[in-house]
Amino acid sequence: MAQMNMVQAINSALRAEMERDASIVVLGEDVGVDGGVFRVTEGLIERFGPGRVIDTPLSEACIVGVSIGMALNGLRPVAEIQFMGFSYLALDQVINHAARIRNRSRGRLHVPIVVRMPYGGGIKALEHHSESTEALYTQVPGLKVVAPSTPREAKGLLTSSIRDQDPVIFLEPTRSYRLLREEVEEDEFTIPLGRSRTVREGDDVTVVGWGAMMPLIEEATRRADGEGVSVEVIDLRTLSPMDSASIVASVKKTGRAVVVHEAPKTCGLGAEIVARINEKALLSLEAPVERVAAPDVTVPLPKGEHHYYPSPDRIYRAIRRAAEF
């Protein structure tokens, strides 16, 4: 075990997997010599050489498109898109090919690629550097979408994503990159995809979140808890396919739920979670499911971002509203 922040944990996952499996390659802008703009791929080119750690030209569509071709011919590429806000340039390759080639070829071919990208706000960055548009991906059949919340989670989930036989969009919460350190196994280990994690158990209200929202949820929960509201917290981990069974089971117990995400409210993943609760647990519901999300506006530049992101305070209020409804 070693103390690692999320950047180190991801680096450690990449390194361990690349040692294990020579078919794994890493590619993206600045992932080689520079070690990635967040230093996530630091040291990999020195260890594995420029054949397996590729500094690509500036072209997101091609990074994903070339990864697809590599995967068709036996490699397991882990591609990096520098920021989620630039991933739309590759969306056609993701939707029309990565997600569909297994189906298109009737299972003869498949595309085991991972597309890593930092997402989300709170790092005082330029326009397009703070996006959280996971619902663009979670609506696409054939894709898996994963978002870890802590260093250890990141390593375990990334390892599983790399070994998965389906294309995985791996969303790394930028503001959690160096937020905290925790004990992480130095050796390889996996955390299975498709299963959420109950971070804390409670009886009154279920709170569902993922990625960078988890520390905010924990803060809000401590406050509510101090006031006698018992909160169950679920870290979704895999956003697609979603572990709705756990959410539904929890809501059947608590009767109340709050969903938190930093994407705009409308058509965010929160809507799908509400809809599934509606379908499977309506009769247990004692209050409307609350969505704590960004408003339906463009992500503001840093000076305005305090008007935008969910805060522990907004989450706390939603928990109270749900509990008191």
Binding site: V25, G51, R52, I54, T56, P57, S59, A61, C62, V64, G65, V66, S67, I68, G69, M70, A71, L72, N73, G74, L75, P77, D92, Q93, N96, H97, I101, R102, N103, R104, S105, R106, G107, R108, L109, H110, P141, G142, K144, D164, Q165, D166, G194, P241, M242, S244, A245
Partner: protein, 319 residues
Amino acid sequence: MVLARTADTKAVTLQRQGRMGAYPPSRGQEASQLGPALALTDGDWVIPGFRELTALIWRGAPLWRLFLFWSGNEEGSLYPDGVNVTPSVIPVGDQIPHAVGVSYASKLRGEDAVALVYIGDGGTSQGGFHEGLNMAGVLKTPTIVVCQNNQYAISVPRSQQTASRTIAQKAVAYGFPGILVDGNDVLALYVAAKAAVERARRGEGPTLIESYTYRLGDHTTSDDASRYRGEEELRKWEAKDPLKRFRLYLEAKGLWDQGQEDEAWKEAEKTVEEEVERALSHPAPSAEDVFRFTYETMPPELAEQLETLKRESGEGGGD
């Protein structure tokens, strides 16, 4: 080529009879497709767009599956193992990066396989063409890009597609050779592609081949080419029919005669009839077939959706 021409004609007829879906005819482009493919050996890859019937047949995609594909059944893209051909890619240009990745993988493993990718003149306007060729140039991948310049992208003539005088010259932007070849001369294409393949195998990187040809048919069976191009132009190109040209060449060399010609067509007819029969009698996909290749293992929610669907259509007979 005779087989492809026969199959192609048949596909158009079947569509007109409502027995097949929309289909993009290859008529006139048989040499353009076959010539480059002749230069490949077994381990090499072909990454087609959507109008490469001749190349696909040559590389071992079963003809009945191709008919099945164009009649609207995914099973038509299930090529046998060992056939290094990817399924047709409909979004114009997207296949180029795939070819770069495929050939990079071969190169990284130290194999000498190359990837041959087809694209149309219209496709050269897409970002995928540019980004892919640029990356191929940088990574020096063993990629052969054949641009079938058939003068049109649906209705848009080559002159409105790009202001560059040739498509071959676009390779200048990527630092590797581009070559312009008579696309109705199957031997010329073979020779050009052969050189490109050898270059690629020597580790010298990609080549762009512009195959200057003409689509004698409509864009697809949904199209009416007479809306945007004249009879005269068509006649001129019909005279350059690649099948005729190759036959004349062979006859001149004394390698082919009318008897062989008749025989070839007859045999092709027979093969095509059999393959069409097989395709048209293939069962339609079940609900499971529609669901099962979404993921390696079906997620619970999806399995539930499938169950509901089966229950509903079982109970009510669907509609």
